[in-house]
């Protein structure tokens, strides 16, 4: 195939305005507004129960918003002439009848839009399902189910792709495959909206992050900004004069935490500054270790107040 052929101008985006969803008394999504732009992977991050899946389901009209709206390329999903050509969605790996073969599932999905057998064969090859295409889906592993979901999402060659927790439960090979695949789709100019509850996964895949907690947007920024903002470095200080040192460090821009006897965790002053200060006052220091907060910690810090199921999200 000649390069560039088939590459369309994917200037399609998802726009949510004041989007809300309530289930009875519970508010799953609370008045959120955001835009998902083409040509990059937008990560949708949040603890379990934050409202990510509900938001994605509203994009394709499976859930009806209680308030506000979400559009794809300026129109509600259902109003497009060829919905599968606009958005491909992997919302649930097992959104497939278990008694049907993978191939028949894809043929049935394709038929709605007049998509031919040739394209079905292509997405089967694309997702590496050739050997199991004629087998019934009931016997599929989670990884094969995920591939079939991606094959179905790709049927209409959509400009926008939604992936809800696509690597959940996959083995390392499957995780790598999904990651590469998603990056590749974004490089073609498609709009990719990818959810996960794992910050580390997002750091590998996403360009932009929308962080959701308790149904509200906490952060909407490029991944690099989120990481930079969340990772204030800390210094681990061990000293027999810990309490004297803590008094000396007591300044408005410095935070000191006493982790245990003789140990301080200092934020706001770097290791050199602490060492110099201790030397000036002739205080012995036994350990002085700079520590950079991990992405997970940055994420925890962001969502600390917004964790629905604390025991599940924080250990």
């Amino acid at each position: 195939m000649c390069p560039g052929r088939g590459i369309r101008n994917f200037d399609v985006m998802i726009t949510a305005e004041g989007l809300s969803k309530r289930f009875g008394a519970k508010t799953a999504v609370d008045d959120i507004s955001f835009t998902v732009r083409p040509g990059q992977v937008t990560g949708f991050l949040g603890p379990n129960g934050a409202g990510k899946s509900t938001t994605m389901r509203m994009v394709v009209g499976l859930d009806r918003p209680s308030g506000g709206s979400v559009t794809v390329n300026g129109k509600r999903f259902a109003q497009h002439h060829a919905p599968l050509h606009e958005v491909g969605a992997l919302l649930d790996a097992k959104a497939v009848h278990t008694g049907r073969t993978a191939e028949n599932h894809l043929l049935a999905m394709a038929a709605t839009h007049g998509i031919g057998r040739q394209r079905v064969r292509e997405v089967i090859e694309l997702t590496g399902l050739e050997s199991v295409a004629r087998k019934r889906v009931g016997g599929f592993s989670l990884g094969m189910g995920q591939r079939l979901g991606i094959a179905a999402a790709m049927l209409g060659d959509p400009a926008t792709l939604l992936f809800d927790e696509p690597v959940n439960g996959l083995d390392p090979e499957g995780v790598l495959w999904v990651r590469q695949f998603v990056r590749h789709l974004a490089s073609e100019g498609r709009t990719i909206f990818l959810s996960s509850h794992l910050m580390s996964e997002m750091a590998m895949t996403a360009d932009h992050l929308i962080v959701l907690g308790k149904g509200r947007i906490i952060t909407d920024a490029p991944v690099s900004d989120v990481i930079a903002g969340g990772t204030r470095s800390r210094v681990h200080v061990r000293s027999p004069h810990a309490s004297q040192l803590a008094d000396l460090l007591a300044r408005p821009d410095v935070t000191v935490m006493r982790a245990e006897a003789g140990v301080l965790e200092v934020t706001g002053l770097d290791a050199a500054g602490i060492g110099d200060l201790a030397a000036q006052h002739a205080l012995a220091i036994h350990e002085l270790t700079p520590k950079t907060a991990s992405l997970e910690e940055a994420y925890m810090a962001l969502t600390a107040d917004a964790v629905e199921y604390r025991s599940e999200a924080v250990r």
Partner: protein, 282 residues
């Protein structure tokens, strides 16, 4: 498996005519219906029941009669009536099978999660329900017609009577039985859509077809007995069994009125299904 060909995600020839159409949704539902084993089995059972029941009924009628009177001596009209009774007897059991099938066509999508794929491809939703209804109706009617025709031929052979396939009453009775089966399947589709559960849907449909007439029969009140002819299964039997019969001999609605009663049942089930399908989150 883990490598990706850079250009492979695009269709080789683009997809120029891609568009969601009702014809496409019909084709999709047809593929879905025929690609499940439960469908194939259900339809084979309908045919087997029709032929088997026709054979059993005809044999027992012929034997029972030849013990007392000579069947060939009976009036032609009476013989014809017996043949028609024997050849449509299977419909009574066939309705249970297609009722279960009609529920499963939609409840199977809810229990497996397939419904989310269906409604993502057809986000306006009602075309998907309509296409399911059309496909199920046509397929069940064709199967029912084959089953009833086979049953009629079987009965005629056992009775030793001539085939009167072009007799309007014969044709209408056989086709009417098939029509009733198709309508029960569509009715069950509506119930299954409303209840979204295989067990609940099947219980509701079988309860209505089998249990309700018996229960009403047992209630010692006139109103209960007056309702019975208007039940789906009673009206359904009347709509093809009473074709050509003298209206005066029928208690309750005649064949054509019964057809309207059956259509009303189906219409109410489909209307409820449409409203709930459109309104609920999937």
């Amino acid at each position: 498996m883990t490598t990706i060909t850079p250009t492979a995600t695009h269709p080789s020839q683009g997809v120029p005519t891609m568009r969601l159409t009702f014809g496409g949704v019909l084709r999709s539902e047809w593929i879905k219906l025929r690609s499940l084993r439960s469908t194939v089995w259900s339809y084979l059972i309908v045919i087997a029941i029709a032929l088997g029941m026709a054979l059993l009924m005809s044999l027992s009628m012929v034997n029972g009669m030849s013990g007392g009177t000579d069947i060939s001596g009976a009036p032609a009209g009476q013989q014809h009536e017996l043949v028609m009774q024997a050849s449509t007897f299977g419909v009574y059991f066939g309705q249970l099978v297609v009722g279960v099938l009609g529920v499963l066509v939609i409840s199977g999508e809810y229990t497996t999660g397939m419904i989310r794929s269906t409604l993502t491809a057809v986000p306006k939703r009602l075309p998907a329900l309509a296409a399911k209804g059309v496909v199920l109706f046509v397929a069940t009617f064709v199967v029912g017609a084959i089953a009833n025709l086979g049953a009629y031929i079987t009965s005629s052979i056992v009775f030793g009577t001539d085939l009167e396939l072009f007799d309007p009453n014969t044709l209408l009775t056989l086709a009417g039985g098939a029509l009733y089966l198709a309508l029960v399947a569509v009715f069950a589709l509506g119930v299954g859509t409303m209840l979204r559960s295989s067990a609940g849907g099947i219980a509701a449909v079988l309860g209505l077809l089998l249990l309700l007439p018996t229960v009403l029969q047992l209630i010692p009140a006139d109103w209960a007995h007056d309702i019975i002819p208007y039940l789906l299964s009673s009206a359904g039997m009347t709509m093809f069994m009473a074709i050509g019969a003298d209206d005066a001999a029928i208690v309750g609605p005649n064949a054509w009125q019964s057809l309207l009663v059956v259509l009303a049942w189906v219409g109410v089930a489909l209307a409820g299904a449409a409203v709930l399908l459109k309104r609920r989150d999937a």
